[in-house]
């Protein structure tokens, strides 16, 4: 049995695959956003001056990093309605269960990323902001968070890409995301290669788009002034500056150190 291009193409362009892909992206994006929000609160707890929030946040990170995500999904979807009658209603969909399960687990990892990002900003800037008269909340919002975002972006991009693939775990709670869709196709036709490669193509496209999005966001966090005249320098000049010819980026520490 050789690779049948028609079966592959039909699968690739089928409504089921598109639906599965949209579901995967949607679930991953919603879970990631929720995880960032919960993770931010947990991170603040982790770096709090007070013992109680530190303990609670520490416990959260420990617990949800320790248990398998699959188990969390099963608990939310199956044990949840058993314990809480309110969850036996129709509105408690597999999507919602997946969203809850994936986001509370991911929040534990995001909390560590955000904590590290907040701690990476030198203390002097917060002190200077306090000296100006900014309140603690303003110091956080106007000085620490904008800079922490820059530090947290690359690892968060990693997490989001992993999250897109983690959505396939939601097959255990009968959610027909991308990989489940492929699996269903295979189980009917036994055309492994065609259906799996079609799914593979989807993942490649999705992750490429995410990477583009990430680099676009990172570019907005460069914090260098754009000096228009540099664009008009002759090529021999701009070659001396790092980055592509015509780029106005200044070298970062790593580029400086490695002379790349």
């Amino acid at each position: 049995m050789e690779f049948d291009g028609t079966i592959f193409w039909d699968a690739l362009t089928s409504q089921e695959y598109l639906d599965g892909a949209v579901l995967s992206i949607g679930l991953a994006a919603a879970s990631q956003v929720l995880a960032v929000i919960i993770g931010f609160v947990v991170a603040l707890g982790r770096i709090s001056k007070h013992r109680a929030p530190r303990a609670v946040a520490g416990l959260y990170v420990w617990f949800f990093r320790a248990i398998p995500t699959l188990l969390v999904l099963l608990l939310v979807w199956n044990a949840g309605p058993q314990l809480f009658p309110a969850l036996r209603e129709d509105w408690f969909s597999p999507f919602l269960a997946g969203l809850i399960g994936l986001s509370i687990v991911e929040a534990a990892y995001m909390a560590e990323i955000i904590r590290a990002a907040l701690l990476s900003i030198d203390d002097g800037q917060a002190v200077a902001a306090r000296a100006l008269g900014l309140t603690p909340l303003q110091v956080l919002r106007k000085v620490l968070v904008p800079q922490a975002i820059k530090v947290a972006l690359p690892p968060t991009g990693n997490e989001f890409i992993a999250m897109i693939k983690y959505t396939s775990l939601a097959s255990v709670i009968s959610l027909r995301e991308l990989l489940t869709t492929a699996q269903v196709g295979v189980s009917v036709t036994f055309r492994y290669a065609e259906y799996y490669v079609a799914a593979l193509v989807y993942y490649l496209v999705i992750v490429s788009l995410v990477m583009l999005l990430q680099s676009w966001i990172e570019r907005r966090y460069r914090w260098t002034s754009t000096v228009p005249t540099r664009r008009f320098l002759p090529p021999s000049w701009s070659r001396r500056s790092p980055g592509a010819p015509g780029s106005t980026g200044t070298p970062n520490a790593a580029q400086e150190a490695l002379k790349v």
Partner: protein, 271 residues
Amino acid sequence: MSTANAEQPAATTGRHAHQLPLLRVQDLHKRYGATEVLKGVDFTVDRGEVKALLGPSGSGKSTILRLMALLEAPDAGEIILDGKRLGVSVSGGRVSHLRERDLARQRTDIGMVFQRFNLFNHLDALHNVMLGLTQVRKVSRSEARDRAHAMLTRVGLAQRAGHFPSELSGGQQQRVAIARALVMDPKVMLFDEPTSALDPELVGEVLAVMEQLAGEGMTMVVVTHEVRFARRVADEVALFDSGQIVEQAAPDEFFDRPQHERTRRFLEHVH
């Protein structure tokens, strides 16, 4: 005279003789764990006066500035600015430390300039200067922009308004930091070794801005190792050692006729 007498108007600066001190520090104590860093510090600064603080490393100079800037609370003692005791609320004889939110409001009267500049790396020079106006003073963005620009012009950096800290020299960064503090219109400016982190050729531009500021009548407390600056600009110079003021006097007295052995030894090192 080992410490300034709070009741006595600064006799060394005749032009302020009839005013109450703008800033008065009384019997300030601070310890970190087992080390007592400030052992009862007293001094006063008159309106428009420039006071230079000299002293060896680890003597507590930065600590006393941090306390005056209300960034940390003293263990004991008082900081009185313009007749008002800072950092605490007194009700019915009971003294309690202010919460961070209320401290924030009081800090706006005190400008602080740090050894390491501490500019906000994600903001260009203009927005570094604007942040306090928009966030703390609640000034509109357009007015804040105008005032920040005027302040950058004053420190000679109008051309660099759009540059980020990473694109500025140390001297330029420190001038932005001075503008950032100054734009809040503080009653007193505190400088913690503002030129110690600078290359020698960049020290002059920062000292020039500070000297200009002193000439305009700003009240200043300057921790510095720049003896020539202290001699030329300060109204009074104090030697700080082991958490106490050892000697304070007018610059000529202080440098040419030091009364204390400790001062003589210190001056031998810095000269």
